[in-house]
Symmetry: C3
Subunit: 160 residues, 3 copies
């Protein structure tokens, strides 16, 4: 790997860690800031993704929709009933690295911790990302969260 | 750590990520390509490994045996019933780093996702690897998969 | 990130990997060596930590107490009934990086493997660390293990 690609890989790795930390620390208001103004955020299953189905469990295509989602979560107090812990693997950079958009694919595991202390594997999967330079930082122009399991908990509420 | 060791660590980390991604993406045909022509692949338990027992649940000592294994899996369609998600820790480089064979030890966690959507911890453990330069790439001359638990699922089929 | 911060991040990442490996390999006698002579080691829950409660499930404030703990574990043979597997995320470096103490925050997941082979998620959370240069190595002056769940297993015995 050349130094430019190494540097980029380090930045994408860091971005993923910051993203997970914001969610796991319950700083949900910081979450939309990881996205570009024009963006797509979608949660879907591996099956639906493979079959090209555009339907996702959660879908947003502006940063405003992401902010609305956080506001709704705060109002509903759903977030008080559970927290997450993300473990994130090494990103794979896809396609050309220099100039324009960067594509990355990153495996993840999310454990959910309920208020009574029980823990379970909430989701595993991979992030399919398109990243852009935006005001000196890398931000998501697109983040498709492809969950390995098609069985989504009805409590699915906090962003993954 | 000197720059040579840092560089090698980055390469081993990358190799592990690529290896896991091939399996988790169901590109099993790519899996034998991570091994040298003369190679050992073995899955065993921590108990058996500690006691020096050579018996492994799965054992292959040529790249041809690895290819046969994938072909058998495709024929049996076992792989359709489940998928894996690997999470891999930072490798530890063991012994001398420059020249010849590289030894590494890397922790892993594998979640299994069944067709009905249920997820469980399938295996945890560490990879004990001997790596060689082979045509410009690092490849496994030996990969011993030491699982922490001695309880192997009878469905054990997809490579770990 | 500047080269100094990158270098430090690599060292903290490595330290965490070495720390986890010592515990998971059952080299508990090596564990106190990751701490400075004057140190704090505490396990607590996210709830207690947030509320500023100083009470921890386990507390030690000298390296001698850590050594005593390992000796007691060996005597009680508790450790023979279970092993751990740590998966550790990317550390976040907090505050000033150059000179004096380094602060880091690192997510973790620990799977417990019982003697009968059953595996469960034992703990998730984050390490809140203060690190110092000590004889050419980074060591913990403080490691607060903040577990996401407040439900601690009564078997909690091996260090996290």
């Amino acid at each position: 790997m050349n130094p430019g690609a190494e540097r980029l890989l380090a930045r994408v790795t860091q971005l993923n860690a910051d993203y997970a930390r914001a969610i796991d620390d319950d700083r949900l208001e910081d979450w939309p800031g990881f996205f570009a103004e024009k963006c797509v955020y979608k949660i879907t299953s591996a099956d639906n993704h493979r079959r090209g189905l555009q339907v996702g469990v959660i879908y947003a295509d502006t940063i405003g929709m992401l902010r609305d989602r956080v506001a709704a979560l705060r109002e509903a107090n759903v977030y008080e009933r559970q927290t997450y812990r993300h473990l994130i693997g090494l990103p794979a950079l896809i396609g050309p690295v220099e100039g324009g958009e960067v594509r990355a694919e990153t495996p993840f595991l999310v454990v959910r911790i309920m208020r009574d202390g029980t823990m379970d594997i909430f989701a595993t999967g991979r992030y399919l990302d398109a990243l852009v330079e935006d005001g000196g930082a890398l931000r998501f122009r697109e983040r498709i969260v492809v969950c390995d399991s098609g069985r989504f908990d009805t409590l699915l509420a906090i962003p993954l």
